[in-house]
Protein backbone atom coordinates (compact mmCIF):
# COMPACT_ATOMS: atom_id res chain seq x y z
CA UNK A 1 0.00 0.00 0.00
CA UNK A 2 2.81 2.39 0.94
CA UNK A 3 4.01 4.49 -1.96
CA UNK A 4 7.64 4.93 -2.81
CA UNK A 5 7.83 8.47 -1.43
CA UNK A 6 6.33 7.41 1.85
CA UNK A 7 8.87 4.68 2.37
CA UNK A 8 11.67 7.03 1.52
CA UNK A 9 10.38 9.41 4.14
CA UNK A 10 10.26 6.63 6.66
CA UNK A 11 13.67 4.99 6.55
CA UNK A 12 12.94 3.28 9.87
CA UNK A 13 10.73 0.89 7.93
CA UNK A 14 13.55 -0.04 5.64
CA UNK A 15 15.89 -0.98 8.44
CA UNK A 16 14.00 -4.22 8.87
CA UNK A 17 15.69 -7.08 7.16
CA UNK A 18 13.57 -8.40 4.33
CA UNK A 19 11.74 -11.43 5.70
CA UNK A 20 10.98 -14.52 3.72
CA UNK A 21 7.43 -15.83 3.46
CA UNK A 22 8.29 -18.63 5.86
CA UNK A 23 9.87 -16.46 8.54
CA UNK A 24 6.96 -14.07 8.24
CA UNK A 25 4.43 -16.89 8.51
CA UNK A 26 6.23 -18.44 11.47
CA UNK A 27 6.16 -15.08 13.24
CA UNK A 28 2.42 -14.87 12.77
CA UNK A 29 1.93 -18.49 13.76
CA UNK A 30 3.69 -18.23 17.14
CA UNK A 31 1.56 -15.20 17.98
CA UNK A 32 -1.57 -17.35 17.65
CA UNK A 33 -1.89 -18.95 21.08
CA UNK A 34 -4.44 -21.61 20.06
CA UNK A 35 -2.27 -22.70 17.15
CA UNK A 36 0.80 -22.95 19.38
CA UNK A 37 -1.05 -25.04 21.95
CA UNK A 38 -2.41 -27.20 19.10
CA UNK A 39 1.09 -27.63 17.71
CA UNK A 40 2.53 -28.63 21.09
CA UNK A 41 -0.21 -31.21 21.62
CA UNK A 42 0.37 -32.59 18.13
CA UNK A 43 4.05 -33.08 19.00
CA UNK A 44 3.04 -34.83 22.23
CA UNK A 45 0.61 -37.09 20.35
CA UNK A 46 3.33 -38.04 17.88
CA UNK A 47 5.69 -38.77 20.78
CA UNK A 48 3.05 -40.98 22.44
CA UNK A 49 2.42 -42.76 19.15
CA UNK A 50 6.13 -43.56 18.71
CA UNK A 51 7.11 -44.35 22.29
CA UNK A 52 3.73 -45.53 23.64
CA UNK A 53 4.75 -49.13 24.36
CA UNK A 54 7.60 -47.93 26.62
CA UNK A 55 5.26 -45.81 28.73
CA UNK A 56 3.05 -48.57 30.04
CA UNK A 57 3.72 -51.92 31.71
CA UNK A 58 0.82 -53.53 29.87
CA UNK A 59 0.58 -54.70 26.28
CA UNK A 60 -2.52 -53.49 24.44
CA UNK A 61 -3.51 -57.07 23.69
CA UNK A 62 -2.77 -58.49 27.16
CA UNK A 63 -5.74 -59.47 29.29
CA UNK A 64 -5.47 -58.96 33.04
CA UNK A 65 -8.30 -61.35 33.87
CA UNK A 66 -7.19 -61.67 37.51
CA UNK A 67 -7.95 -58.05 38.25
CA UNK A 68 -11.29 -58.28 36.47
CA UNK A 69 -12.16 -61.36 38.54
CA UNK A 70 -11.10 -59.52 41.70
CA UNK A 71 -13.45 -56.73 40.67
CA UNK A 72 -16.50 -59.06 40.50
CA UNK A 73 -16.05 -59.60 36.74
CA UNK A 74 -16.70 -55.94 36.02
CA UNK A 75 -14.39 -53.53 34.17
CA UNK A 76 -11.66 -52.29 36.54
CA UNK A 77 -12.09 -48.60 37.39
CA UNK A 78 -9.20 -46.13 36.93
CA UNK A 79 -6.20 -46.24 39.31
CA UNK A 80 -6.98 -49.71 40.59
CA UNK A 81 -4.75 -52.81 40.38
CA UNK A 82 -2.07 -50.77 38.63
CA UNK A 83 -4.28 -49.75 35.69
CA UNK A 84 -4.02 -46.00 35.21
CA UNK A 85 -7.30 -45.68 33.27
CA UNK A 86 -8.76 -49.02 34.42
CA UNK A 87 -9.58 -51.92 32.10
CA UNK A 88 -12.50 -53.13 30.03
CA UNK A 89 -14.53 -56.23 30.89
CA UNK A 90 -11.91 -58.46 29.22
CA UNK A 91 -9.05 -57.03 31.26
CA UNK A 92 -7.48 -54.94 28.50
CA UNK A 93 -5.57 -52.03 30.05
CA UNK A 94 -7.37 -48.93 28.74
CA UNK A 95 -4.31 -46.66 28.91
CA UNK A 96 -2.23 -49.05 26.79
CA UNK A 97 -5.06 -49.42 24.31
CA UNK A 98 -5.45 -45.66 24.07
CA UNK A 99 -1.71 -45.41 23.36
CA UNK A 100 -2.00 -48.01 20.61
CA UNK A 101 -5.05 -46.12 19.33
CA UNK A 102 -2.90 -42.98 19.23
CA UNK A 103 -0.40 -44.89 17.13
CA UNK A 104 -3.14 -46.02 14.74
CA UNK A 105 -4.62 -42.53 14.44
CA UNK A 106 -1.28 -40.83 13.91
CA UNK A 107 -0.26 -43.43 11.32
CA UNK A 108 -3.52 -42.89 9.48
CA UNK A 109 -3.01 -39.14 9.70
CA UNK A 110 0.50 -39.40 8.26
CA UNK A 111 0.09 -42.12 5.64
CA UNK A 112 -3.17 -40.80 4.21
CA UNK A 113 -1.66 -37.35 3.76
CA UNK A 114 1.44 -38.83 2.10
CA UNK A 115 -0.82 -40.75 -0.29
CA UNK A 116 -2.80 -37.59 -0.94
CA UNK A 117 0.36 -35.59 -1.67
CA UNK A 118 1.92 -38.21 -3.93
CA UNK A 119 -1.21 -38.67 -6.02
CA UNK A 120 -2.85 -35.27 -5.72
CA UNK A 121 0.09 -32.98 -6.52
CA UNK A 122 1.31 -34.64 -9.75
CA UNK A 123 -2.18 -35.07 -11.14
CA UNK A 124 -3.32 -31.60 -10.11
CA UNK A 125 -0.15 -30.05 -11.52
CA UNK A 126 -0.44 -31.96 -14.80
CA UNK A 127 -4.08 -30.98 -15.18
CA UNK A 128 -3.36 -27.33 -14.47
CA UNK A 129 -0.27 -27.13 -16.67
CA UNK A 130 -1.30 -29.11 -19.71
CA UNK A 131 -5.02 -28.35 -19.54
CA UNK A 132 -7.03 -29.88 -22.35
CA UNK A 133 -7.81 -33.56 -22.20
CA UNK A 134 -5.92 -34.39 -18.98
CA UNK A 135 -7.63 -31.51 -17.23
CA UNK A 136 -11.02 -32.59 -18.51
CA UNK A 137 -10.46 -36.15 -17.40
CA UNK A 138 -9.48 -35.04 -13.90
CA UNK A 139 -12.43 -32.73 -13.52
CA UNK A 140 -14.90 -35.35 -14.74
CA UNK A 141 -13.36 -37.88 -12.39
CA UNK A 142 -13.71 -35.35 -9.60
CA UNK A 143 -17.40 -35.07 -10.40
CA UNK A 144 -17.84 -38.80 -9.90
CA UNK A 145 -15.89 -38.90 -6.64
CA UNK A 146 -17.77 -35.89 -5.33
CA UNK A 147 -21.09 -37.54 -6.13
CA UNK A 148 -20.18 -40.50 -3.94
CA UNK A 149 -20.91 -39.71 -0.32
CA UNK A 150 -17.33 -39.84 1.07
CA UNK A 151 -17.90 -41.82 4.19
CA UNK A 152 -20.18 -44.32 2.50
CA UNK A 153 -17.62 -45.00 -0.22
CA UNK A 154 -14.90 -45.54 2.40
CA UNK A 155 -17.20 -47.94 4.24
CA UNK A 156 -18.14 -49.74 1.02
CA UNK A 157 -14.48 -50.23 0.12
CA UNK A 158 -13.55 -51.33 3.63
CA UNK A 159 -16.34 -53.85 4.01
CA UNK A 160 -16.14 -55.37 0.56
CA UNK A 161 -12.37 -55.89 0.67
CA UNK A 162 -12.19 -56.82 4.35
CA UNK A 163 -11.87 -60.57 3.91
CA UNK A 164 -9.21 -60.45 1.20
CA UNK A 165 -5.42 -60.58 1.73
CA UNK A 166 -5.36 -56.89 0.97
CA UNK A 167 -7.90 -56.20 3.69
CA UNK A 168 -5.83 -58.07 6.26
CA UNK A 169 -2.45 -56.56 5.41
CA UNK A 170 -0.86 -54.53 8.23
CA UNK A 171 -3.56 -55.47 10.76
CA UNK A 172 -6.17 -54.20 8.30
CA UNK A 173 -4.66 -50.72 8.33
CA UNK A 174 -3.49 -50.79 4.69
CA UNK A 175 -7.10 -50.96 3.57
CA UNK A 176 -8.00 -48.06 5.88
CA UNK A 177 -5.22 -45.92 4.38
CA UNK A 178 -6.22 -46.71 0.83
CA UNK A 179 -9.95 -46.32 1.40
CA UNK A 180 -9.54 -42.87 2.97
CA UNK A 181 -6.77 -41.79 0.59
CA UNK A 182 -8.71 -42.71 -2.56
CA UNK A 183 -11.37 -40.18 -1.67
CA UNK A 184 -9.09 -37.53 -0.17
CA UNK A 185 -6.58 -36.99 -2.99
CA UNK A 186 -9.18 -35.48 -5.29
CA UNK A 187 -9.51 -32.35 -3.20
CA UNK A 188 -5.73 -31.93 -3.16
CA UNK A 189 -5.56 -32.33 -6.93
CA UNK A 190 -8.18 -29.63 -7.35
CA UNK A 191 -6.32 -27.23 -5.06
CA UNK A 192 -3.01 -27.74 -6.87
CA UNK A 193 -4.73 -27.43 -10.25
CA UNK A 194 -6.26 -24.12 -9.24
CA UNK A 195 -2.93 -22.80 -7.99
CA UNK A 196 -1.09 -23.83 -11.14
CA UNK A 197 -3.77 -22.30 -13.33
CA UNK A 198 -3.40 -18.93 -11.63
CA UNK A 199 0.41 -19.08 -11.54
CA UNK A 200 0.55 -19.94 -15.24
CA UNK A 201 -0.28 -16.35 -16.10
CA UNK A 202 2.45 -14.79 -13.94
CA UNK A 203 5.38 -12.98 -15.52
CA UNK A 204 8.11 -15.05 -13.94
CA UNK A 205 6.66 -18.22 -15.41
CA UNK A 206 6.45 -16.56 -18.78
CA UNK A 207 10.04 -15.42 -18.39
CA UNK A 208 11.19 -18.92 -17.52
CA UNK A 209 9.38 -20.22 -20.59
CA UNK A 210 10.96 -17.58 -22.77
CA UNK A 211 14.48 -18.60 -21.83
CA UNK A 212 13.62 -22.20 -22.56
CA UNK A 213 13.30 -23.82 -19.14
CA UNK A 214 11.69 -27.24 -19.44
CA UNK A 215 8.05 -27.73 -18.46
CA UNK A 216 8.99 -30.08 -15.66
CA UNK A 217 11.42 -27.63 -14.16
CA UNK A 218 9.03 -24.69 -14.40
CA UNK A 219 6.34 -26.62 -12.56
CA UNK A 220 8.58 -28.13 -9.89
CA UNK A 221 10.99 -25.25 -9.35
CA UNK A 222 8.92 -22.17 -9.97
CA UNK A 223 5.27 -22.99 -9.48
CA UNK A 224 4.93 -25.66 -6.81
CA UNK A 225 7.00 -23.74 -4.22
CA UNK A 226 4.61 -20.85 -4.71
CA UNK A 227 1.58 -23.09 -4.41
CA UNK A 228 2.76 -24.74 -1.21
CA UNK A 229 0.77 -22.59 1.24
CA UNK A 230 -2.72 -23.86 0.37
CA UNK A 231 -1.28 -27.39 0.12
CA UNK A 232 0.06 -27.25 3.69
CA UNK A 233 -3.24 -25.93 4.97
CA UNK A 234 -5.18 -28.65 3.13
CA UNK A 235 -2.88 -31.28 4.63
CA UNK A 236 -3.25 -30.03 8.20
CA UNK A 237 -7.01 -29.75 7.89
CA UNK A 238 -7.21 -33.08 6.08
CA UNK A 239 -5.63 -34.81 9.07
CA UNK A 240 -8.51 -34.34 11.53
CA UNK A 241 -10.91 -35.44 8.78
CA UNK A 242 -8.89 -38.64 8.25
CA UNK A 243 -8.68 -39.28 12.00
CA UNK A 244 -12.43 -38.88 12.29
CA UNK A 245 -13.13 -41.20 9.35
CA UNK A 246 -10.83 -43.83 10.83
CA UNK A 247 -12.64 -43.50 14.16
CA UNK A 248 -15.97 -44.08 12.42
CA UNK A 249 -14.58 -47.21 10.74
CA UNK A 250 -13.30 -48.45 14.10
CA UNK A 251 -16.63 -47.66 15.70
CA UNK A 252 -18.42 -49.72 13.05
CA UNK A 253 -15.97 -52.58 13.56
CA UNK A 254 -14.38 -52.39 10.10
CA UNK A 255 -11.12 -50.61 10.93
CA UNK A 256 -7.99 -52.23 12.32
CA UNK A 257 -8.24 -55.95 13.02
CA UNK A 258 -8.58 -57.09 16.66
CA UNK A 259 -6.80 -57.27 19.03
CA UNK A 260 -5.66 -53.84 17.88
CA UNK A 261 -8.20 -51.21 18.83
CA UNK A 262 -8.54 -47.75 17.39
CA UNK A 263 -10.17 -44.94 19.35
CA UNK A 264 -13.41 -45.62 17.49
CA UNK A 265 -13.36 -49.27 18.54
CA UNK A 266 -12.78 -48.22 22.15
CA UNK A 267 -15.75 -45.85 21.97
CA UNK A 268 -17.89 -48.68 20.66
CA UNK A 269 -16.85 -50.87 23.61
CA UNK A 270 -17.30 -47.94 25.98
CA UNK A 271 -20.81 -47.29 24.74
CA UNK A 272 -21.86 -50.76 25.84
CA UNK A 273 -20.67 -50.08 29.37
CA UNK A 274 -21.46 -46.40 29.63
CA UNK A 275 -24.12 -46.54 32.33
CA UNK A 276 -22.09 -48.70 34.75
CA UNK A 277 -18.50 -47.66 33.93
CA UNK A 278 -18.54 -44.40 31.97
CA UNK A 279 -14.73 -44.08 32.01
CA UNK A 280 -14.57 -46.62 29.17
CA UNK A 281 -16.44 -44.12 27.00
CA UNK A 282 -15.08 -40.87 28.41
CA UNK A 283 -11.33 -41.49 28.00
CA UNK A 284 -11.41 -42.48 24.31
CA UNK A 285 -13.88 -39.65 23.62
CA UNK A 286 -11.41 -37.23 25.24
CA UNK A 287 -8.54 -38.65 23.19
CA UNK A 288 -10.42 -38.06 19.93
CA UNK A 289 -11.54 -34.60 21.02
CA UNK A 290 -8.00 -33.53 21.93
CA UNK A 291 -6.55 -34.84 18.65
CA UNK A 292 -9.27 -33.29 16.47
CA UNK A 293 -9.04 -29.93 18.20
CA UNK A 294 -5.26 -29.62 18.17
CA UNK A 295 -4.98 -30.45 14.48
CA UNK A 296 -7.85 -28.10 13.64
CA UNK A 297 -6.36 -25.22 15.66
CA UNK A 298 -2.94 -25.81 14.14
CA UNK A 299 -4.45 -25.92 10.66
CA UNK A 300 -6.46 -22.74 11.22
CA UNK A 301 -3.35 -21.03 12.57
CA UNK A 302 -1.29 -22.12 9.57
CA UNK A 303 -3.94 -20.89 7.17
CA UNK A 304 -4.02 -17.49 8.87
CA UNK A 305 -0.23 -17.34 9.00
CA UNK A 306 0.38 -18.37 5.39
CA UNK A 307 -2.38 -16.34 3.84
CA UNK A 308 -2.96 -13.11 5.78
CA UNK A 309 -5.77 -12.18 3.40
CA UNK A 310 -7.87 -15.07 4.63
CA UNK A 311 -7.19 -14.19 8.21
CA UNK A 312 -10.11 -14.10 10.59
CA UNK A 313 -8.51 -12.23 13.43
CA UNK A 314 -6.43 -9.10 13.26
Amino acid sequence: MATRTQSLEAPADLQHKPTSLWRDALGRLVKNRLAVVGGIIVVILVFLAVFGPFLTPWNYAAQDLKSVAANHNAPVPPLKFGHLFGTDNLGHDLFSRLLDGTRISMTVALVVQVVVLFIGIPIGAAAGWFGGRIDNLLMRFTDVVYAFPDLLFVILLSVSLKDTWFGNAMDGLLLVFVAIGVVAWVTMARIVRGQILSLKETEYVEAARAIGVSDFKIVTRHMLPNAIGPVIVAVTLGIPAAILTEAVLGFLGIGANPPRASWGTLINTGSQWMSSTPHLLVFPALAIAIALLSFTFLGDGLRDALDPKLRGKQ
Binding site: F148, P149, A247, M274, A285, I288, G312
Partner: protein, 305 residues
Protein backbone atom coordinates in the same frame (compact mmCIF):
# COMPACT_ATOMS: atom_id res chain seq x y z
CA UNK B 1 -28.87 -19.97 -18.03
CA UNK B 2 -31.40 -22.56 -19.17
CA UNK B 3 -28.79 -24.19 -21.38
CA UNK B 4 -26.38 -24.29 -18.44
CA UNK B 5 -28.94 -25.96 -16.18
CA UNK B 6 -29.91 -28.50 -18.85
CA UNK B 7 -26.27 -29.37 -19.48
CA UNK B 8 -25.61 -29.83 -15.77
CA UNK B 9 -28.71 -31.98 -15.30
CA UNK B 10 -27.80 -34.18 -18.25
CA UNK B 11 -24.29 -34.58 -16.87
CA UNK B 12 -25.86 -36.21 -13.79
CA UNK B 13 -26.72 -39.27 -15.87
CA UNK B 14 -23.16 -40.41 -16.71
CA UNK B 15 -22.02 -39.54 -13.17
CA UNK B 16 -24.69 -41.70 -11.57
CA UNK B 17 -24.04 -44.42 -14.14
CA UNK B 18 -20.36 -44.60 -13.19
CA UNK B 19 -21.19 -44.54 -9.50
CA UNK B 20 -23.54 -47.49 -10.01
CA UNK B 21 -20.97 -49.48 -12.01
CA UNK B 22 -18.26 -48.94 -9.38
CA UNK B 23 -20.57 -49.91 -6.54
CA UNK B 24 -21.86 -52.94 -8.41
CA UNK B 25 -18.37 -54.13 -9.30
CA UNK B 26 -16.97 -53.61 -5.79
CA UNK B 27 -19.89 -55.37 -4.18
CA UNK B 28 -19.76 -58.41 -6.43
CA UNK B 29 -15.96 -58.60 -6.37
CA UNK B 30 -16.08 -58.98 -2.60
CA UNK B 31 -15.95 -62.54 -1.30
CA UNK B 32 -19.11 -64.06 0.13
CA UNK B 33 -22.67 -63.78 -1.03
CA UNK B 34 -26.06 -62.77 0.27
CA UNK B 35 -26.95 -66.22 1.56
CA UNK B 36 -24.43 -66.42 4.37
CA UNK B 37 -26.39 -66.81 7.57
CA UNK B 38 -25.34 -67.60 11.13
CA UNK B 39 -26.67 -71.09 10.50
CA UNK B 40 -25.29 -71.92 7.03
CA UNK B 41 -27.96 -72.79 4.48
CA UNK B 42 -27.71 -76.20 2.78
CA UNK B 43 -25.79 -75.92 -0.53
CA UNK B 44 -28.82 -77.13 -2.47
CA UNK B 45 -30.87 -74.21 -1.15
CA UNK B 46 -28.10 -71.76 -1.98
CA UNK B 47 -27.98 -73.12 -5.54
CA UNK B 48 -31.75 -72.75 -5.83
CA UNK B 49 -31.68 -69.20 -4.47
CA UNK B 50 -28.82 -68.25 -6.80
CA UNK B 51 -30.82 -69.65 -9.68
CA UNK B 52 -34.02 -67.87 -8.64
CA UNK B 53 -32.35 -64.48 -8.21
CA UNK B 54 -30.18 -64.87 -11.29
CA UNK B 55 -26.88 -64.67 -9.40
CA UNK B 56 -25.30 -67.30 -11.66
CA UNK B 57 -25.58 -65.06 -14.71
CA UNK B 58 -22.50 -63.21 -15.95
CA UNK B 59 -21.85 -59.93 -14.18
CA UNK B 60 -22.79 -57.63 -17.10
CA UNK B 61 -26.10 -59.46 -17.51
CA UNK B 62 -26.85 -58.99 -13.83
CA UNK B 63 -25.93 -55.34 -14.06
CA UNK B 64 -28.08 -54.73 -17.13
CA UNK B 65 -31.02 -56.49 -15.51
CA UNK B 66 -30.65 -54.27 -12.45
CA UNK B 67 -30.27 -51.11 -14.54
CA UNK B 68 -33.24 -52.08 -16.70
CA UNK B 69 -35.42 -52.52 -13.63
CA UNK B 70 -34.16 -49.22 -12.21
CA UNK B 71 -35.29 -47.37 -15.32
CA UNK B 72 -38.80 -48.72 -14.82
CA UNK B 73 -38.67 -47.67 -11.17
CA UNK B 74 -38.19 -51.17 -9.77
CA UNK B 75 -35.35 -51.40 -7.29
CA UNK B 76 -35.55 -55.18 -7.15
CA UNK B 77 -35.78 -57.58 -4.22
CA UNK B 78 -33.94 -57.54 -0.92
CA UNK B 79 -31.68 -60.56 -0.46
CA UNK B 80 -31.74 -60.42 3.28
CA UNK B 81 -35.40 -59.76 3.97
CA UNK B 82 -36.64 -62.39 1.55
CA UNK B 83 -39.93 -61.51 -0.05
CA UNK B 84 -39.56 -57.78 0.57
CA UNK B 85 -39.12 -55.28 -2.21
CA UNK B 86 -36.44 -52.65 -1.88
CA UNK B 87 -39.01 -50.13 -3.08
CA UNK B 88 -41.11 -50.76 0.04
CA UNK B 89 -38.10 -50.58 2.36
CA UNK B 90 -36.98 -47.29 0.87
CA UNK B 91 -40.51 -45.90 0.92
CA UNK B 92 -40.88 -46.80 4.61
CA UNK B 93 -37.63 -45.29 5.77
CA UNK B 94 -36.93 -42.46 3.39
CA UNK B 95 -39.37 -39.93 4.86
CA UNK B 96 -37.94 -40.52 8.33
CA UNK B 97 -34.34 -40.13 7.19
CA UNK B 98 -35.31 -37.04 5.22
CA UNK B 99 -37.21 -35.57 8.18
CA UNK B 100 -34.22 -36.11 10.48
CA UNK B 101 -31.89 -34.54 7.93
CA UNK B 102 -34.16 -31.55 7.33
CA UNK B 103 -34.65 -30.91 11.06
CA UNK B 104 -30.91 -31.05 11.71
CA UNK B 105 -30.30 -28.78 8.71
CA UNK B 106 -32.81 -26.18 9.87
CA UNK B 107 -31.35 -26.26 13.38
CA UNK B 108 -27.82 -25.90 12.01
CA UNK B 109 -28.73 -22.92 9.83
CA UNK B 110 -30.85 -21.20 12.49
CA UNK B 111 -28.10 -21.50 15.10
CA UNK B 112 -24.96 -21.48 12.97
CA UNK B 113 -25.52 -18.29 10.98
CA UNK B 114 -26.55 -16.05 13.93
CA UNK B 115 -23.68 -17.46 16.02
CA UNK B 116 -21.21 -16.64 13.26
CA UNK B 117 -22.64 -13.15 12.71
CA UNK B 118 -22.67 -12.28 16.42
CA UNK B 119 -19.19 -13.67 16.90
CA UNK B 120 -17.87 -11.49 14.10
CA UNK B 121 -19.66 -8.33 15.27
CA UNK B 122 -18.54 -8.73 18.87
CA UNK B 123 -15.09 -10.00 17.95
CA UNK B 124 -13.16 -11.17 21.03
CA UNK B 125 -16.13 -10.33 23.27
CA UNK B 126 -18.23 -12.73 25.31
CA UNK B 127 -20.53 -13.70 22.41
CA UNK B 128 -17.49 -14.48 20.28
CA UNK B 129 -16.13 -16.82 22.93
CA UNK B 130 -19.55 -18.45 23.41
CA UNK B 131 -19.78 -19.04 19.66
CA UNK B 132 -16.23 -20.37 19.63
CA UNK B 133 -17.12 -22.76 22.45
CA UNK B 134 -20.05 -24.11 20.45
CA UNK B 135 -17.87 -24.62 17.38
CA UNK B 136 -15.21 -26.31 19.47
CA UNK B 137 -17.76 -28.82 20.74
CA UNK B 138 -19.00 -29.41 17.21
CA UNK B 139 -15.48 -30.08 15.92
CA UNK B 140 -14.16 -32.05 18.87
CA UNK B 141 -17.01 -34.43 19.56
CA UNK B 142 -17.97 -36.73 16.67
CA UNK B 143 -21.71 -37.23 16.27
CA UNK B 144 -21.64 -40.84 17.45
CA UNK B 145 -19.83 -39.87 20.64
CA UNK B 146 -22.16 -36.93 21.20
CA UNK B 147 -25.13 -39.28 20.81
CA UNK B 148 -23.93 -41.46 23.65
CA UNK B 149 -23.09 -38.47 25.83
CA UNK B 150 -26.60 -37.09 25.25
CA UNK B 151 -28.14 -40.47 26.11
CA UNK B 152 -25.96 -40.71 29.20
CA UNK B 153 -26.91 -37.27 30.51
CA UNK B 154 -30.44 -36.53 29.25
CA UNK B 155 -31.93 -40.01 28.94
CA UNK B 156 -30.28 -42.27 31.52
CA UNK B 157 -29.45 -39.42 33.88
CA UNK B 158 -32.24 -36.85 33.83
CA UNK B 159 -34.92 -38.90 32.02
CA UNK B 160 -35.91 -35.89 29.92
CA UNK B 161 -35.94 -37.82 26.67
CA UNK B 162 -36.31 -41.49 25.72
CA UNK B 163 -33.11 -43.31 24.73
CA UNK B 164 -34.36 -44.15 21.26
CA UNK B 165 -37.23 -44.75 18.87
CA UNK B 166 -39.06 -42.39 16.57
CA UNK B 167 -42.46 -41.68 18.09
CA UNK B 168 -43.22 -38.00 18.37
CA UNK B 169 -41.25 -34.80 18.98
CA UNK B 170 -39.55 -35.78 22.24
CA UNK B 171 -37.84 -38.70 20.51
CA UNK B 172 -36.66 -36.33 17.77
CA UNK B 173 -34.70 -33.94 19.98
CA UNK B 174 -31.53 -35.89 20.80
CA UNK B 175 -30.86 -37.39 17.33
CA UNK B 176 -31.42 -33.99 15.71
CA UNK B 177 -29.03 -32.25 18.12
CA UNK B 178 -26.39 -34.98 17.76
CA UNK B 179 -26.60 -34.79 13.97
CA UNK B 180 -26.64 -30.98 13.83
CA UNK B 181 -23.68 -30.30 16.15
CA UNK B 182 -20.99 -30.50 13.51
CA UNK B 183 -22.84 -28.47 10.84
CA UNK B 184 -23.67 -25.79 13.44
CA UNK B 185 -19.96 -25.45 14.13
CA UNK B 186 -19.03 -25.51 10.45
CA UNK B 187 -21.62 -22.91 9.47
CA UNK B 188 -20.74 -20.65 12.43
CA UNK B 189 -17.01 -20.75 11.63
CA UNK B 190 -17.62 -20.09 7.99
CA UNK B 191 -20.07 -17.26 8.61
CA UNK B 192 -17.75 -15.60 11.11
CA UNK B 193 -14.78 -15.67 8.75
CA UNK B 194 -16.92 -14.39 5.89
CA UNK B 195 -18.37 -11.56 8.02
CA UNK B 196 -14.91 -10.45 9.14
CA UNK B 197 -13.80 -10.44 5.52
CA UNK B 198 -16.74 -8.23 4.54
CA UNK B 199 -16.13 -5.82 7.44
CA UNK B 200 -13.01 -4.52 5.73
CA UNK B 201 -14.62 -3.93 2.36
CA UNK B 202 -14.79 -0.46 0.89
CA UNK B 203 -18.55 -0.44 0.54
CA UNK B 204 -18.92 -1.02 4.28
CA UNK B 205 -16.58 1.88 5.00
CA UNK B 206 -18.57 4.00 2.57
CA UNK B 207 -21.80 3.06 4.30
CA UNK B 208 -20.25 3.94 7.65
CA UNK B 209 -18.96 7.29 6.43
CA UNK B 210 -22.40 8.11 5.02
CA UNK B 211 -23.56 7.84 8.62
CA UNK B 212 -25.94 4.93 8.13
CA UNK B 213 -27.24 3.25 11.25
CA UNK B 214 -25.13 0.29 12.31
CA UNK B 215 -28.18 -1.94 12.06
CA UNK B 216 -28.70 -0.99 8.43
CA UNK B 217 -25.06 -1.51 7.58
CA UNK B 218 -24.97 -4.92 9.22
CA UNK B 219 -28.23 -6.19 7.76
CA UNK B 220 -28.20 -4.67 4.28
CA UNK B 221 -24.51 -4.39 3.47
CA UNK B 222 -22.68 -6.98 5.51
CA UNK B 223 -24.84 -10.02 6.17
CA UNK B 224 -26.20 -10.24 2.64
CA UNK B 225 -22.75 -10.21 1.12
CA UNK B 226 -21.20 -12.36 3.79
CA UNK B 227 -23.74 -15.12 3.24
CA UNK B 228 -22.81 -15.68 -0.41
CA UNK B 229 -19.86 -17.99 0.33
CA UNK B 230 -21.82 -19.59 3.17
CA UNK B 231 -24.49 -20.70 0.71
CA UNK B 232 -21.93 -22.80 -1.13
CA UNK B 233 -21.33 -25.01 1.87
CA UNK B 234 -25.03 -25.42 2.71
CA UNK B 235 -25.59 -27.84 -0.18
CA UNK B 236 -22.85 -30.29 0.79
CA UNK B 237 -23.89 -29.91 4.43
CA UNK B 238 -27.47 -30.87 3.67
CA UNK B 239 -26.33 -33.81 1.55
CA UNK B 240 -23.99 -34.84 4.35
CA UNK B 241 -26.82 -34.76 6.88
CA UNK B 242 -29.10 -36.95 4.79
CA UNK B 243 -26.42 -39.44 3.80
CA UNK B 244 -24.53 -39.34 7.09
CA UNK B 245 -27.34 -40.06 9.50
CA UNK B 246 -26.92 -43.83 9.37
CA UNK B 247 -24.82 -44.01 12.53
CA UNK B 248 -27.27 -41.81 14.44
CA UNK B 249 -30.15 -43.94 13.15
CA UNK B 250 -28.42 -47.06 14.45
CA UNK B 251 -27.66 -45.57 17.86
CA UNK B 252 -31.15 -44.17 18.45
CA UNK B 253 -33.04 -47.09 16.84
CA UNK B 254 -34.59 -44.82 14.22
CA UNK B 255 -36.43 -46.72 11.46
CA UNK B 256 -34.95 -44.65 8.60
CA UNK B 257 -33.14 -46.14 5.63
CA UNK B 258 -29.66 -45.36 6.93
CA UNK B 259 -29.61 -48.22 9.40
CA UNK B 260 -29.98 -50.70 6.49
CA UNK B 261 -26.83 -49.48 4.80
CA UNK B 262 -24.10 -51.03 6.92
CA UNK B 263 -26.02 -54.28 7.23
CA UNK B 264 -26.61 -54.32 3.50
CA UNK B 265 -22.87 -54.09 2.80
CA UNK B 266 -21.74 -56.66 5.34
CA UNK B 267 -24.50 -59.10 4.38
CA UNK B 268 -24.10 -58.53 0.64
CA UNK B 269 -27.72 -57.46 0.28
CA UNK B 270 -27.03 -56.29 -3.27
CA UNK B 271 -30.49 -54.89 -3.92
CA UNK B 272 -30.67 -52.67 -0.85
CA UNK B 273 -27.07 -51.55 -1.20
CA UNK B 274 -27.38 -50.52 -4.84
CA UNK B 275 -30.65 -48.70 -4.23
CA UNK B 276 -29.24 -46.76 -1.29
CA UNK B 277 -25.98 -45.87 -2.98
CA UNK B 278 -27.89 -44.52 -5.97
CA UNK B 279 -30.28 -42.60 -3.74
CA UNK B 280 -27.46 -41.08 -1.71
CA UNK B 281 -25.36 -40.29 -4.77
CA UNK B 282 -28.38 -38.62 -6.37
CA UNK B 283 -28.90 -36.49 -3.24
CA UNK B 284 -25.25 -35.42 -3.21
CA UNK B 285 -25.10 -34.71 -6.94
CA UNK B 286 -28.37 -32.78 -6.94
CA UNK B 287 -27.33 -30.69 -3.93
CA UNK B 288 -24.03 -29.82 -5.65
CA UNK B 289 -26.04 -28.80 -8.70
CA UNK B 290 -28.49 -26.71 -6.66
CA UNK B 291 -25.60 -24.91 -5.00
CA UNK B 292 -23.87 -24.11 -8.29
CA UNK B 293 -27.07 -22.77 -9.78
CA UNK B 294 -28.10 -20.96 -6.60
CA UNK B 295 -24.66 -19.42 -6.27
CA UNK B 296 -24.80 -18.02 -9.75
CA UNK B 297 -28.28 -16.70 -9.07
CA UNK B 298 -27.34 -14.96 -5.81
CA UNK B 299 -24.09 -13.52 -7.08
CA UNK B 300 -24.56 -11.90 -10.48
CA UNK B 301 -20.79 -11.56 -10.86
CA UNK B 302 -20.60 -15.27 -11.63
CA UNK B 303 -21.12 -16.27 -15.24
CA UNK B 304 -22.21 -19.60 -16.56
CA UNK B 305 -19.92 -21.32 -18.95
Amino acid sequence: MTAYIIRRVLWLIPVLFIVSVITFALMHAAPGGPWQREKPLPPANVALLNEKYGLNDPMPVQYLRWAGNLVTGDLGPSYKYLGRDVNDMVADGWTITLQLGVMAFVLAVLLGIPLGVIAALRQNGAPDYAATAVSVIGIAIPSFVLSYLLVLVFASGMHWFPTGGWKGPNTWVMPTVALAAFPIAAIARYTRASMLEVTRRDYVRTAQSKGLKERTIVVIHMIRNALIPVVTILGPIFAGLVTGSFIIEKIFYIPGIGRFYIDAISQRDYGVLMAMTMLYAAVVAIMNLVVDIGYAWIDPRIRYN
